[in-house]
Symmetry: none
Subunit: 219 residues, 2 copies
């Protein structure tokens, strides 16, 4: 890896900044192309097929998706290319969005030339590269699925077993007749249960029930 330079395309809407990046990167890196908006970035990446794209997060053009749009569009077209986001923003939303789009790292523009070169090399080798503090945002966004199992529901406990059964089907969009067929009871009985559910949960329609159940991940 010391024998071959890392081929890089720099995407940023400011000419001066691109010149600065080009001047700051050391001999391990070869800037093979530049682009200044979403469209020209995609074209340049497809043409040069670089190892790494240094990608500004906020870009003109395209459908307003900025750097994340570029990464998404090129993910299938150029599988060997990795993306390193480079932005003034250190907002968690920006970081998570572009990482979700497929970028392998995110550094702020306060970085030094040497550190940026290191980050580019690391990303080229398949590793991740983050400015301090930013990696935590990604991990925070990552660990937000299996943590809510312990939540008990006293509202749900007020429903009888049969009422819960009917409630789940109704919340999933089943019609009364379909619920009746599913549970081998009459439509009128379903109506009775639904009325009881709505009354006990203090809801007024099956639509509210759907949202209520969705919020509690009961679907």
């Amino acid at each position: 890896m010391t024998t071959e330079q890392v081929r890089v395309v720099v995407v940023d809407d400011h000419l001066m900044f691109r010149a600065g990046v080009r001047a700051s990167l050391d001999g391990r890196i070869d800037v093979v192309g530049e682009a200044e908006d979403v469209g020209s970035a995609i074209a340049a990446i497809r043409e040069h097929r670089p190892d790494v794209v240094l990608l500004d997060v906020h870009l003109p053009g395209g459908r307003g998706g900025g750097g994340a749009e570029v990464a998404r569009e090129c993910a299938d077209l150029t599988p060997g290319t990795r993306f390193l986001a480079l932005s003034v923003s250190d907002a968690a939303d920006d970081v998570v969005a572009v990482i979700r789009a497929g970028a392998r790292g995110y550094v702020t523009k306060a970085i030094t030339g040497a550190d940026l070169s290191d980050a580019v090399v690391r990303v080229a080798q398949g590793d991740a590269a983050f400015s301090p503090r930013l990696a935590g945002f990604v991990l925070d966004a990552f660990g937000t699925a299996p943590a809510d199992v312990a939540e008990r529901d006293d509202e749900l406990d007020r429903l009888s077993a049969r009422e819960q059964e009917v409630m789940r089907l109704i919340a999933r969009g089943y019609a009364y007749r379909e619920v009746a067929g599913e549970l081998f009871i009459s439509v009128k009985t379903v109506e009775t249960h639904v009325s009881a559910v709505l009354r006990k949960l203090q809801l007024s329609s099956r639509h509210e029930l759907t949202r209520w159940a969705a919020q509690r991940k009961l679907l």
Copy 2:
């Protein structure tokens, strides 16, 4: 951060390895406790409330969840504590599992004492710490959603602007009359738009529309 030592609990099922970790960590780190299985780890963490837990991934005891189980159990109990996974395994599944459980980093046991000390300090400061190559596993597991974005646009673009507006309100549970009042149009016009939306999306009721919109996160 040079004035205060980072307080650490070391969790590993091998006494010899714990001794090695203790001997390898430098003066910035203070090992305040040790544990050798899931149960004793949770107890030690609750007792000492360390800044960082060095956590072996494969542990005896508990419900077989290993280090991930420890991290999950302690997430709510000791919010100030961060977890750094430490394992011989460099398998992607192990890495993703323990990160998903809340760990802020993952290093292999091939690490040097100096690098491990650095990683502990970085995690204590809220940053992430990964051995080379391992961070990529997490990012790979993270970017597994953008496939439905393109499909969403195709389907959604077939709706006119007004139809999308009506669709969002209907999907949120608004009644026709409420939508009419919100958009200053007649109930009949709302009906027309809803019919067009259902026909274009090949749905048969507003309930299916709600699920359709929820799947695409349009709410």
